[in-house]
């Protein structure tokens, strides 16, 4: 197995696991993930493959940011005044 193939598989696993925690149940995270992967299954150009992997990593980072921001906001709303915010 080539290195890019392993990388793509590892990324898929990570994204799939992230998708399980997606807050909106009506958002078809896993379906979208699979369709995107299937759309790109026949890519051969290394540059295109690299771009597709970059997009996947970007989506992963954005999803992680979404989760942590959601948690942070929730806690901040639950415990007002527990943190000092110079802007408020």
């Amino acid at each position: 197995m080539s290195f890019t193939r392993l990388r793509a598989l590892a990324l898929y696993k990570e994204l799939h696991r992230l998708g399980r925690d997606y807050p909106d149940p009506s958002y078809d995270f896993h379906g979208k993930l699979r369709r995107l992967y299937e759309k790109n299954r026949n890519l051969t150009d290394p540059v295109e493959i690299e771009n597709a992997l970059k997009l996947g990593e970007y989506i992963k980072n954005e999803t992680l940011a979404l989760y942590s921001l959601r948690k942070y906001r929730h806690l901040k709303r639950m415990y007002p005044g527990s943190t000092f915010d110079p802007l408020s």
Binding site: E14, L18, S68, R70, Y72, L75, T83, F84
Partner: protein, 270 residues
């Protein structure tokens, strides 16, 4: 003469399994507590504590010898410990209590932690305890302070920044206080409780979750430590807050005045 080797630091991170922050909690039918058949996860403030321990290790590398995670709870709490291990802790201790036992109180937890710390004495001792300022299920926020009191250690509560000076064995901690922050310097050993702004906890990656399965995992019973976790308080009844009653529309001012009089309001007398 050879210089004596610097004492390496050991960190203990107590964590708690709590109802997930995103779950809408409901009172159970017997009115003894909330419905616990919902998603659970690590208490978010404890996540911040684990993250801080791991970041200290990343900053000071080998000077932090071990990061030990500990939890007290039923068998399902083991998964919370696995999360802590996946985030970067080295080993875990699970003090197991029966499935239907009542949740231990802060004093019981603090005494258990003291027993654990005493037990660790011969394997290097514990220098820093980092724990969440409170758990999001019972919101008591006392364990850290009680532990510091029992041990006679320095305490730095509501930390928003932690810095260590390992050769001097001191820590500088910025604390959240009303309307600002306070910077304190304290001697090790130290108890730190984390506040929200301390850091952003990481999401354990898949390879790290796999590696966590191989890390040392110790199971203990409260009796082994000689502690009694029976709560001193008795929960009489838990009820939901009253439902908010909807308002009514009035057609004109007279009707409004009539309604107000009905509700007991009177005009201001000049």
């Amino acid at each position: 003469m050879r210089p004596s080797p610097a004492r390496l630091l050991n960190i203990l991170v107590p964590v708690k399994r709590a109802v997930d922050y995103a779950v809408k909690i409901r009172v159970n039918a017997q009115q003894t507590g909330v419905d616990l058949n919902v998603k659970h996860s690590m208490n978010p403030f404890d996540e911040i504590a684990v993250e801080e321990a791991v970041r200290l290790r990343e900053r000071f590398k080998d000077e932090i010898k071990t990061i030990k995670a500990i939890t007290i709870g039923p068998s399902k709490s083991a998964e919370t410990l696995r999360t802590a291990l996946a985030m970067g802790a080295d080993s875990a201790i699970h003090v197991e209590i029966p499935e239907n036992a009542p949740a231990p109180e802060p004093l019981g937890v603090a005494k258990t932690l003291r027993a654990i710390i005493e037990k660790q004495k011969d394997s290097g001792g514990i220098d820093i305890v980092i724990l969440g300022k409170q758990s999001i299920d019972d919101d008591l926020g006392q364990t850290g302070q009680m532990l510091a009191g029992l041990m006679g250690w320095s305490q730095a509560t509501y930390a928003s920044k932690v810095d260590l000076d390992i050769p001097k064995r001191e820590a500088t901690v910025v604390r959240e206080i009303d309307g600002g922050s306070e910077e304190i310097r304290c001697k090790l050993p130290l108890v730190v409780t984390t506040d929200l702004r301390l850091n952003e906890p990481r999401y354990a990656s898949l390879p790290n979750i796999m590696k966590a399965k191989k890390k040392p995992f110790e199971k203990l019973k409260p009796e082994d430590l000689g502690v009694d976790l029976t709560p001193q308080m008795e929960t009489v009844k838990v009820t939901e807050p009253l439902k908010r009653v909807g308002g009514v529309k009035v057609a004109n001012v007279d009707e409004l005045v009539a309604k107000l009089k009905e509700a007991g309001f009177t005009a201001v007398k000049n």
